[in-house]
Amino acid sequence: MVNYGGDEVSALVVDIGTSSLRAGYAGDDTPKSIIPTSFGYTPAPPEADVPMADGTEGEGQASTTKPKYANIYIRSERTLNMAARDGNWESYIHDFNPIPPLIRHALENVMRVDPTEHPILVTEPAWNTPENRERMAEIMFEEFNVPAFYIANTGVLNAFAAGKGSALVIDIGQSVASVTPVVDGFVLRKGLSHSPIPKFIQSLTKSLLSNHRNVNIDLWPHQLIASKMPVDLHQAPHYTLRTERVERTTKSWKDWAEQKEIEEWIQSIAQVPEQGWNDQVVARMPAKAYEFPTGYSAVFGAERYQVGEHMFFNNPQNASQPKIIMALVSDALRTCDPELRGVLASNVVLTGGGSLLTGVPGPAKHGTWKDGNIGKAIVGQRCK
């Protein structure tokens, strides 16, 4: 009997985030099913059951608890005629109506497991409320009839996944960036800090793209474009829309699609400057070309660094900037016991989809994490 790692009780893990829901078996390296948390729905009352735009796509589940949504359709790329909703997460779950269908889809349709046979572990952010927890337990026990259920903290799980009992977990998600000090497998709640900086970055990008070289770049999603012509750099695009689809498209779906385009742009070419904003350095960095679904292509130089800069460095010109990641880190470390600062600062775990932004570990490596009285000698040595 191999005792390392505990017993194998074939538990399932469900990790619900802003952009995606991940589900898999405990002990696996990667989740077995990753589905977007955004969904399409038909608003109640559903007198006429609107046929789906693409009948084969999507999984319909009637939500019975609240009549807000008549139907919920997962994989909302094609559900243009329905109102679309993001996962509706503002740092934690606000609306539980779509949760059961989402989980059911991930477990039963993707993983093909019977939830009644497996204990389930669900993750929660460290600032989750007791009501949310209760609701989640209710869903699990009453709707899925799971034999056992446990709620674990994402910060602790991230630290353990990196093989650390004590760590400073920097989690940059789609809607929230958070810094969680974990000591001996427990979250230090006093040192916890989070900020909606990713959302801010997205809105910043949106305004950036709406006025790039005095051009308002159209952010039509590819689903609504019938044809396009290749054009030269910075030339006005030639494209035709699928008018019949555009007419049917709801506003919320269009907003959602536009949001996707913005995120795509950020993930493709945005970058974090290594040492704060510096006009000369940024001017020397190579520019990158990006082609939008409309066929419009442009070269972005300094713009792609602006986005990353706002994530890590204070911009005095922008008063509405939420807490940057540096500030979160130094806040977390400052509230911790001085004894722990060295341990935490030398065990930094960087996680979350937002941390895949090019150059995120850069500021850490260059010692610019220093802020306030946290010595750079300890912070920013090892950030992986």
Partner: protein, 515 residues
């Protein structure tokens, strides 16, 4: 099956081979026919003695797989529900287990659910021992003022948290939302917890022996002031500004640079001195200590020297002469000598005319093997005779201590010198006798008595020498000397006058030695 092998052979007009049994019917044709794969020319060269490598292995069909049966069969596993005895809620989960395992065995992971021993107290105990209000009435060495006021509720809460988080103090501190006006610190929590535990152990009847109680109490010691100081120090370390850090770094580099320059200078100078003058530069050795950068400064050598003679725990400079310059080593302080005497350390002094640069290395040796030996061959029998007269053996010392060897050395020297003198004297006396004879021949008279006196005096002189040396001697060899002395004592007074008159030079030399 009426057709026999012989029939087949005859039918195929093959040579009959009665020797070829049914065991090798296939080999037979290969002996005569050229096998495939070998060229005709080669076959004609090597003939039938072809390498056996070409021996044909007939292709076989794929073998039937062996399915394990019985003991080597694949283990059977079964999905079973189990009870975790560490759980109190009786939850049943399922896991895969070997079918051979007894389902009633204890869950192997239950043993990892361990808990630290926790202390509880009753209301009565709290009132009697743990109430800080009581204790502040009897303040002890001013320590009471740093202790904060604890109510029973807060103490209860602290103990509950300690149990819940299993003594992880940082988590306890994080979860404990004590009223802010109490002004508790993490150290205060620790202090309170450990002091309560100590008091409980001290005031309760103890089942074991006193030593185990003391060790337990010691394991629960907590020095509040020291911990607070340590934390302040940590904070000050962390709150260094980047300028201070840079300065520190620069200073460290500077020290390293200085040290390196110093070392290079010394090396160069030493080499120069060695080449030109054949001696050591006499520069002090640099202390190789990377951990304490300040220790490499030359001034610190003086500090080291000062510290040296403070006590027995500090080591005197290493006695090995190799490498270190004698000019530095020689002026050993008197305290160092005292240290040597106390610890019976004997230093072999290098003679001053040894070239300093030649590493005057002295290998270790047993003192007994280096007992001075008689070198003068002409004198040897006489010296031996002289020693025999004293009842001594010059080659064997019962106890070759340093002093005794030294004594023997001196004795040998004295005997040699005496014999020398005697030889000289003999010669002079012979001359005198010759001269007297010549005189007598001239005067016509004999000189019998004078000769007698001289001989007597010779024997006495030997005695005296032995005696003086023997007086200082110690150890086993002295015994024999003493006996010799007592034997010869009688001669002394008798012949003293003649010594003074005839052998003045010898006796003065002896006196000097004695002094």
């Amino acid at each position: 099956m009426a057709v026999s092998a012989a029939d087949v052979r005859s039918a195929l007009s093959l040579p009959d081979s009665s020797a070829a049994g049914p065991s090798n019917p296939r080999k037979q044709p290969s002996m005569t026919r050229k096998p495939e794969g070998i060229s005709r020319e080669l076959y004609s060269l090597i003939g039938p003695s072809q390498p056996s490598l070409a021996a044909q292995a007939k292709p076989r069909l794929k073998q039937k797989p062996k399915f394990a049966t019985g003991a080597s069969a694949a283990t059977k596993w079964s999905l079973r529900s189990f009870n975790n005895s560490a759980r109190k809620d009786g939850l049943q989960l399922k896991h895969w287990a070997k079918a051979s395992e007894d389902p009633e065995t204890e869950y192997p992971f239950a043993k990892y659910n361990t808990q630290n021993p926790t202390y509880t107290y009753s209301q009565d105990e709290y009132n009697r021992f743990l109430d800080t209000a009581n204790r502040s009435a009897t303040p002890k060495d001013g320590k009471i003022e740093i202790e904060k006021y604890w109510t029973k509720e807060l103490t209860d809460k602290l103990f509950k948290l300690y149990q819940e988080y299993d003594g992880r103090w940082h988590v306890i501190w994080d979860r404990a939302d004590f009223p802010p006006d109490a002004g508790f610190d993490l150290e205060d929590l620790k202090h309170r917890y450990y002091s309560v535990c100590r008091k409980l152990i001290r005031n309760r009847p103890w089942p074991g022996d006193e030593a185990s109680r003391v060790t337990l109490i010691n394991s629960l010691q907590f020095d509040l002031e020291r911990e607070q100081m340590r934390k302040r120090y940590l904070v000050s370390l962390e709150s260094r500004t980047s300028e201070q850090l840079a300065e520190e770094e620069a200073l460290y580099l500077e020290v390293r640079r200085l040290e390196q320059t110093e070392r290079r200078f010394k090396h160069e100078r030493e080499e120069l001195m060695r080449t030109l003058a054949g001696m050591d530069s006499g520069l002090p050795h640099l202390v190789e200590d990377n951990g304490a950068p300040l220790g490499i400064l030359p001034e610190s050598r003086g500090l080291n020297k000062k510290r040296k003679p403070t006590g027995m725990d500090t080591e005197p400079p290493t006695p090995s002469g190799a490498g270190s310059s004698p000019s530095v080593k020689r002026p050993q302080s008197t305290k160092s000598a005292a240290y040597d005497a106390q610890h019976c350390i004997i230093r072999t002094e290098l003679s001053s005319n040894t070239p300093a640069t030649k590493a005057a290395h002295q290998p270790a040796y047993a003192r007994s093997s280096k007992i001075p030996y008689l070198k003068n061959n002409a004198m040897q029998p006489k010296i031996l005779q002289c020693f025999a007269e004293m009842g001594l053996s010059p080659s064997r010392l019962v106890m070759p201590t340093k002093e005794n060897v030294h004594q023997l050395d001196g004795l040998l020297e004295a005997v040699t010198a005496m014999l020398d003198t005697k030889k000289h004297l003999d010669k002079v006396e012979y001359d005198i006798q010759v001269a007297k004879k010549q005189l007598a021949m001239r005067n016509g008279e004999g000189v019998e008595e004078g000769e007698d006196t001289v001989k007597n005096e010779d024997a006495m002189d030997v005695d005296q020498g032995t005696e003086t040396e023997g007086n200082e001697g110690r150890g086993a060899s002295v015994v024999s000397i003493r006996s010799a002395r007592s034997r010869k004592k009688t001669h002394r007074s008798m012949s003293i006058s003649s010594v003074d008159t005839t052998a003045t030079s010898v006796s003065t030399r002896k006196r000097q030695k004695r002094g």
